[in-house]
Amino acid sequence: MDETAALELKHISKYFGSVAANKDIDLTLKRGEILALLGENGSGKTTLMNMISGIYYPDEGRIFVNGEEAVISSPQDAFRYRIGMVHQHFKLIDIFTAAQNIVLGAGGKRGISHINEEVKEIAEKYGFEIDPKKKIYDMSVSEKQTVEIVKVLYRGADILILDEPTAVLTPQETEKLFAVMRAMKADGKSIIIITHKLNEVMAISDRVAVLRKGEYIGCVDTAGTDPAALTEMMVGEKVTLNIARPKPHLERPLLEIRDLTINNDEGSRAIENLSFFIRGGEILGVAGIAGCGQRELCETIAGLRKAESGGIYHEGESILGLSPRAITARGVAMSFIPEDRLGMGLAPSMSVTDNMMLKNYQDHGYGLKEEPVSEDDPPEVAKKKAARNKFISFLNRHCPFVDRKKARAEAEHIIEELDIVTPSTETPVRRLSGGNVQKVLLGREILTEPNVLITAYPVRGLDINSSYLIYDILNRQKEAGTGILFIGEDLDVMLALCDKIMVLCHGKMMGVVHADKTTKEQLGLMMAGALDLEEEKGKPMGVAKDSRIGEDQA
């Protein structure tokens, strides 16, 4: 009976605390097919796959492998059923070699001294390029991914699960990966690929299963569907991105970056010779695949990272080398949502209130009020009042205590304003869900009334409604004259929201385009480094004609 499915899930549910990550999911993987698992961020794709690979244990439901019920309570069990998963965040030991990582935990037939040859054999069989003796910390992302896939094959997996494998790859590397996947399929392997990129789904998969908010929506043949239908399944209703884009009223450049070069933590170039500028009242998008220097750029502007060379000017004055606090004081605010959400910008164990005062606690005083000096006051009274006020402001400035009352009021304000769901202002932020965490972060930054706002991935992992709320907030800021640097992932969103889009590729500027005069294809080409507008036009695009640099600078 060859018609039995390679893998079958029935009524699988998984809860995290009180939240259902997966609710009553059914899924079937046929032998020798590539099944795409489609869903937005946070729809429960990874959780579901983690249950198949033994990382999580389902709270309810049953799993069948080749028609027989299987209990997968550990990764060992998964391998016993010949299931292997390539995780999105690679599970590799940095200080080991490729070969050591590949044989790790596997029952290998030969001694440890033969591992290099064994690995080479497998690599040759499937056409991978791999140096078994190279240490992981010396490898590029795609090399690491290769190691991960070879690792799973080495252990004889028949069912492969790939969790967003293309997120970190260039188009060329993606093509290579797809070729390998097709080869594996021809070899009789069954593959599940998790993704939220529709074009890839259409290109590689035989069937598509869709999850939405932890629930199973349906499964269709790829040949009989199209991106629009899939999108509808994924988001629930047809969404035409209808993000408002108020017309920018142009002002002179607020923030100017000139010939900036930055190194990353490993000491290699993260940003090279980058020049661009932001005007007040506009949103400048930054597009690029993950790891093309966005993070380092943000950190440098906020004063958290050293620049190798070049300059950063705010209203014509250099802010390079100023302390983060001084930069904040000038009105430059940053909200950066890192991959782990809480790594930067928020203190996870602290309450919403305590996170509110992160940037202004230094200015907290006793709350003593200065007495207004009116013009009617006789000179000696005015003098007395002035002296008193001076003393009060001195006291307030040197107050050793934080003002939690004030911070709590601020917290209550943004909770109401941004519709944040939290049991109280005293709840540690790590107990909030992702979307609410992001709102807390963005809300606090806006509270400081910045004139330059740097925001990276502000809608990462948010549902549609929350995302629109964030776009609204950004647009309101823009209309108030704030210059916004928007580092995003979703090109559709950037095309709709931003006024201009700057594209980075491996730390180099590929060009700045007007959002209403460009296409996704053009941006895609630039992101992959295939199109360099700067080179084409032969002039630097990131220098404003009406630059303020030079007014008071040399």
Binding site: F16, S18, P324, R341, M344, S433
Partner: protein, 393 residues
């Protein structure tokens, strides 16, 4: 039908536990440990006074006479002082295991002042010099590892640990310098000793009680309400975030450890100046380590720690009586019982943080609407892990 083998034990992280429940688990753990000790000791003792006799001796040892009560309070507040000193660093996730050395340095600095200046300068001047030099010496002993931690990320637990022994040999250096023909012990000094307040056991106990009650309250307020306290907590939670908030992390680490060490030095000052009036290599009484246990068991809250410190000293004083009453000869028995309590207390923490499901007993969960927004709330990696990541880079 195949018989399905489910994993026997399945552990999940608890989201929240009511305060009383957590308290109950901890109290239960301590009670179990005490009962176990009582059974073992009353069974094995040469002159057993029975199971209940154990508790009788325990209480009589701690509270039996006025002198014992004063002694109990003296030790409680000295230990509390050390624990509070360490908490300042622990809040920042800085593992100051060097309490012993910092106390000894405080003792030594005071002793040096008493030895060289006692009787030559007016007493109040000597007292002041003792106080200042003790604070400086304790602070110095903590700030050296802190500087290296701040600039080079040198492992602070091992650094502070090593500093303990250097302090110990420094003390023995001075003792053998002063009393070359002695047995390595130092007689109590009279010149420069702090004045006695009241009589008997109270005269020596009153100073530590007052000083460290005040210190505890001040540090409680410092950690909870001050800007410095906020910065310390922030660094403890996430160094990256602290940097992002514009905090000079290096400066705060150094500043905080000066405070931590200076407070340990203050304990040394009281020990040498008032309680013992001399210095010895074991004068720290291992409070640097016991203080860590107190701080940790007290959830890093100075007020709870006061209770824990009282309890630990109650056990130690009480066990001393048990040892005599039950006919033991080794005082180390007290360490065993205290160690047992630690084990149970540490172990019970697991049941507060995690929920254990056994196969067969299905725990049905009802999703509460408290936090629900499309996305599973990922427990953030604990800040400890972040520290480890930093250590790697």
């Amino acid at each position: 039908m195949k018989n399905i083998k489910e994993p026997f034990i399945h552990i999940t992280r608890r989201e929240h536990m009511p305060l009383w429940q957590g308290l109950l688990i901890r109290v239960a753990a301590v009670v179990v440990a005490l009962v176990l000790s009582a059974i073992l000791i009353s069974a094995a003792a040469p002159k057993s006074q029975g199971f209940f006799g154990f508790f009788g001796s325990l209480f009589s040892g701690a509270f039996g006479t006025e002198r014992r009560i004063w002694l109990l309070f003296q030790n409680t507040f000295l230990l509390l002082g050390v624990a509070v000193a360490l908490v300042v660093a622990f809040k920042m996730k800085f593992w100051n295991l060097g309490g012993n050395g910092q106390i000894l340095m405080g003792c030594l600095a005071s002793a040096i002042c008493m030895y060289y200046l006692g009787g030559k300068l007016p007493d109040p001047v000597v007292w002041l010099l003792m106080l200042v030099s003790s604070l400086v010496a304790g602070g110095l002993w903590a700030v050296i590892p802190a500087i290296f931690k701040a600039f080079f990320n040198t492992n602070e637990s091992l650094f502070t640990l090593m500093m303990n022994y250097i302090a110990m040999y420094l003390v023995s250096f001075f003792i053998s310098l002063w009393y070359p023909n002695g047995t390595g012990a130092m007689p109590p000094l009279t010149d420069g000793a702090l004045p006695a307040i009241g009589e008997g056991a109270m005269s020596r106990a009153i100073l530590p009680v007052i000083v460290f009650a005040i210190v505890t309250l001040v540090i409680y307020a410092y950690l909870r309400f001050s800007k410095h306290g906020y910065e310390i907590a922030l660094i403890g939670d996430s160094k990256n975030t602290a940097r992002y908030a514009g905090i000079n992390v290096k400066k705060v680490i150094i500043r905080t450890l000066i405070l931590s060490g200076a407070l340990c030095g203050l304990v040394g000052f009281v020990l040498t100046g008032s309680v013992n009036r001399m210095v010895s290599t074991s004068m720290d009484g291992n409070m640097g380590f016991t203080g860590i246990m107190v701080a940790w068991m007290g959830k890093l809250d100075p007020l709870i720690m006061a209770g824990v410190s009282l309890f630990i000293n109650f056990l130690e004083r009480g066990m001393a009586q048990v040892i005599t009453d039950f006919g033991f000869t080794s005082e180390a028995l007290s360490d065993i019982v205290v160690g047992l309590i630690y084990f149970f207390f540490i172990g019970c923490e697991f049941f507060i943080l995690y929920r254990v499901h056994f196969a067969g007993s299905k725990n049905k969960r009802t999703p509460s609407p408290e936090i629900a927004e499309g996305e599973a709330p990922k427990e953030t990696p604990l800040p400890e892990e972040e520290g480890a990541k930093e250590a790697r880079s």
